[in-house]
């Protein structure tokens, strides 16, 4: 019996249409716009100004707080401007505009394909490298990786979980890197595990990706045979269920431990990192390569098979450039989503640029995005059954609509992970998540305000 998380969850059709498309490398456009807010926490402070010439991998912005990250130039050329530009939600964010000239890399970066299996011993130096190279979690939340890898004093990691679940329908970027960069991912896992004090590492992959499970297992076996420091790494096939890739759900599936309300994974001895983050850690530590590129899926039902792609992009490329390069926007696409169809965001500004955490350009048709007309709750309880956090969305939405903050807190609205299972399962088309998300923000603000007092 394969493992999975214990409560709730849904089974949307996985639609991994682009799973057999190799990762292609996108050519560098004439101009890139690098956002200063590519990570969770305070936006980075730019340290370049218009007229400066920069090389690929050069630091262009420094972290502006403890939870913040370095940002590097993804191209070589001249800085044209530093100023506000719209992100994909249409909000103004400081961007550094760079005009590309050639492809001149900064010194000390190893661009070769040679695999380095020897893991450096100095953990402090490793963490410093991860921090300086701007590595952030690439699973969606873009939380700075070095912060997650330094547990607070008194807390110890019992297990490092590598998230290869990729439970969102359509997305195949993690799948492709697991097939094509399997060894690098395992080395990255070994590095992180060493930093965390030698705890075991588990790579969780859903059963709908048998090829990835096989390739990753082979990579682990081979590295364990040929090099030192790879003991205790294993691949764990997981039953397919959404949202398996949620941090708390994955910990439940792999370790059978539950993170308490408002708690952190480290409280139960778990550290979860995405497989793409592991790859970024490998490149940062072994190759001294900053996080300036990632893999993105261009997909959708309305795209023919030959126009489905997995691209390796450099950060700062405008989304419109990628869409254009991939053959333009299909005519019947009504909505373009960045991220998966469950938790991704509709793009309001196609001229917005890619960020470290960009994972897809997903074209949905009008029929797929249409919302049904809202009707009254019929008390079927489907939303409560589907909620992976064990909440009662029908109740929460009632409280939220009436502004009953105390009741919302008692019923743990702050634990909502915004996975969208309730909205997906509701036969009355009640906008459960839309309403609960707002209430969650309000309640968390109240709780924080109370702590500060």
């Amino acid at each position: 019996m394969m493992k999975t998380f214990s409560i709730g969850g849904i089974h949307p059709s996985d639609k991994k249409i682009s799973k057999d498309c190799n990762i292609e490398i996108l050519p560098v456009p004439a101009k890139v716009y690098i956002s200063m807010a590519q990570h969770l926490g305070a936006p980075a402070t730019p340290i370049v100004k218009a007229g400066d010439s920069v090389k690929v991998g050069q630091v262009i912005a420094e972290p502006a707080g403890f939870i913040s990250a370095y940002v590097h130039s993804s191209v070589s050329g001249t800085v044209k401007s530093v100023g506000p530009r719209k992100d994909l939600a249409g909000n103004f964010v400081t961007h550094v505009e760079i005009e590309t000239e050639g492809d001149d890399w900064a010194e000390g970066i190893d661009c070769s394909d040679t695999l380095i299996t020897e893991i450096p011993e100095d953990n402090k130096a490793i963490l410093e490298k991860i921090k300086l190279n701007g590595v952030v979690g690439l699973g969606g939340a873009t939380f700075p990786a070095h912060v997650k890898l330094s547990p607070p004093p008194g807390k110890k990691a019992d297990c490092l979980i590598l998230n290869g679940a990729e439970c969102e329908p359509y997305l195949t970027s993690d799948y492709r890197i697991m097939l094509e960069r399997s060894k690098e991912i395992v080395i990255g896992a070994a590095i992180m595990k060493q930093v965390l004090g030698g705890c075991p590492a588990v790579i969780g992959i859903e059963e709908n990706k048998p090829e990835a499970i096989r390739v990753m297992s082979d990579a682990v076996a081979e590295l364990q045979k040929t090099a030192r420091g790879y003991d205790g790494i294993s691949v764990m096939p997981l039953k397919k269920k959404y949202p398996q890739g949620g941090e708390k759900q994955l910990i439940d599936a792999v370790m059978k431990r539950q993170v308490k309300s408002m708690g952190l994974p480290i409280d139960v001895g778990a550290v979860v990192q995405n497989v793409a983050t592991s790859l970024a850690v490998y490149e940062a530590v072994q190759k001294n390569m900053p996080l300036i590129s990632n893999v993105l899926t261009v997909t959708g039902d309305c795209l023919p098979m030959d126009r489905q792609h997995n691209y390796k992009f450099r950060i700062g490329m405008p989304l419109s450039y990628i869409a254009e390069y991939a053959g333009g926007i299909p005519e019947d696409a009504a909505k373009i989503i960045s991220g998966g169809p469950m938790m991704g965001k509709a793009i309001a500004e196609l001229d917005a640029s890619t960020v470290k955490g960009s994972s897809s350009l997903l074209y949905l048709t009008a029929a797929q995005t249409m919302r049904g007309t809202e009707s009254a709750c019929i008390r079927c309880g489907k939303c409560a059954e589907a909620c992976p956090m064990g909440l009662e969305p029908f109740l929460l939405q009632k409280y939220a609509r009436n502004g009953m903050m105390d009741e919302l807190e008692e019923n743990a609205v702050q634990d909502c992970i915004e996975c969208g299972c309730c909205l997906y399962s509701c036969p009355a088309y009640i906008p459960l998540l839309d309403i609960i998300r707002i209430a969650k923000g309000d309640v968390i603000r109240i709780i924080r305000g109370r702590v500060q007092k």
Binding site: A89, K345, A348, R437
Partner: protein, 309 residues
């Protein structure tokens, strides 16, 4: 038989008398002293329980009025000065009349002025929409048009104009309770002085982007050029964060700023028509000229007919 009845009556009578004494004693012991004036004040209040006064409801406000030393702190926006005069009369105090206020929508981003850049297909709520993204137009400060303010108004004083997509305040019905001000996630609605004979001058824009960016997103945006502040003789206009603001306590309704504004972002409402400059006056002669030319045509076309006769 008669004895049973007599006994029953006797026992019940005694029981009743004993319980009456107990109830009397309990009532005396636990008596709550409440100022009778609270009831009197509550009777005068409108009973909307809207919370516009800052209290939990009309009863709470009545209590607040009775307990409060300073009548200036108490004001019922729904009842206005009339009700406050009555409250003062009940309490045997005097109260200074306050300027009546009205909710003002500070956005003129009509469909024409502010073209849509994308289509919003989500849940129709301004708060939800604002949490998701900047909105379906180029302006990230303007009205989102989902009508949270309409839902918040207990007096039916706000309605969405289907043509412009903006909310319209009915000045007669608006009580300035401030519910819409709190409901608007973009802080567009402001409570402003009703003004002499309802005349008001205000900046109908809250866009804090730089001039060029704001202008590109909306034809009627305030670009923060500061021309209005220069022309104002009463220091009523301040320009901060690329947006002009007219202080209604200083504004003397001279309307110099209205003529000066290059984008028409400053609105003057309810001014008598005779004072209105250029546009409407110019419109009339055109209409008359048109009418005349039409009449001429009719006369001319009639001429040949007459000749035939």
């Amino acid at each position: 038989m008669t004895q049973t009845i007599i006994w029953t009556i006797a026992i019940l009578t005694i029981l009743g008398m004993v319980l009456a004494v107990v109830l009397y004693l309990v009532a005396e012991k636990f008596k709550v002293e409440e100022d009778p004036r609270i009831d009197d004040v509550e009777k005068v209040l409108p009973g909307a329980n809207c919370g516009g006064c800052g209290q939990a409801g009309c009863r709470a406000f009545a209590q607040f009025c009775v307990e409060s030393e300073d009548m200036d702190k108490c004001f019922c926006p729904v009842g206005g000065n009339d009700v406050m005069q009555q409250v003062a009369a009940v309490l045997g105090r005097t109260v200074a009349a306050k300027e009546p206020m009205v909710a003002v929508v500070r956005c003129n981003g009509t469909c024409e002025n502010r073209p849509k850049t994308n289509e919003y297909g989500g849940y129709q709520s301004c708060r939800v929409k604002a949490a998701l993204y900047s909105g379906d137009t180029g302006c990230s400060f303007g009205c989102l048009g989902c009508g949270d303010c309409v839902a918040a108004c207990q007096f039916g004083a706000i309605e969405m104009d289907p043509e412009t997509g903006l909310p319209v305040v009915d000045e007669e019905k608006c009580t300035a309770c401030g519910a819409c001000v709190k409901a608007c996630p973009k802080n567009i609605i402001e409570l402003r002085n009703k003004g002499r004979r309802n005349m008001r001058v205000y900046v109908s824009c809250v866009n804090r982007d730089k001039g060029a960016v704001a202008r590109k997103a909306c034809k009627a945006a305030c670009i923060g050029c500061g021309k209005c502040a220069k022309v104002c003789a009463f220091d009523a206009i301040t320009v901060e964060n690329n947006i002009a603001y007219i202080d209604f306590t200083k504004c003397k309704l001279c309307k110099k700023c209205v003529a000066e504004c290059p984008t028409g972002a400053i609105h003057a409402v309810n001014f008598p028509v005779v004072n209105k400059p250029a546009a409407p006056v110019a419109a009339k002669p055109v209409a008359v000229a048109e009418a005349k030319s039409v009449m001429n045509k009719v006369e001319k076309s009639n001429e040949p007919v007459k000749k035939e006769e």
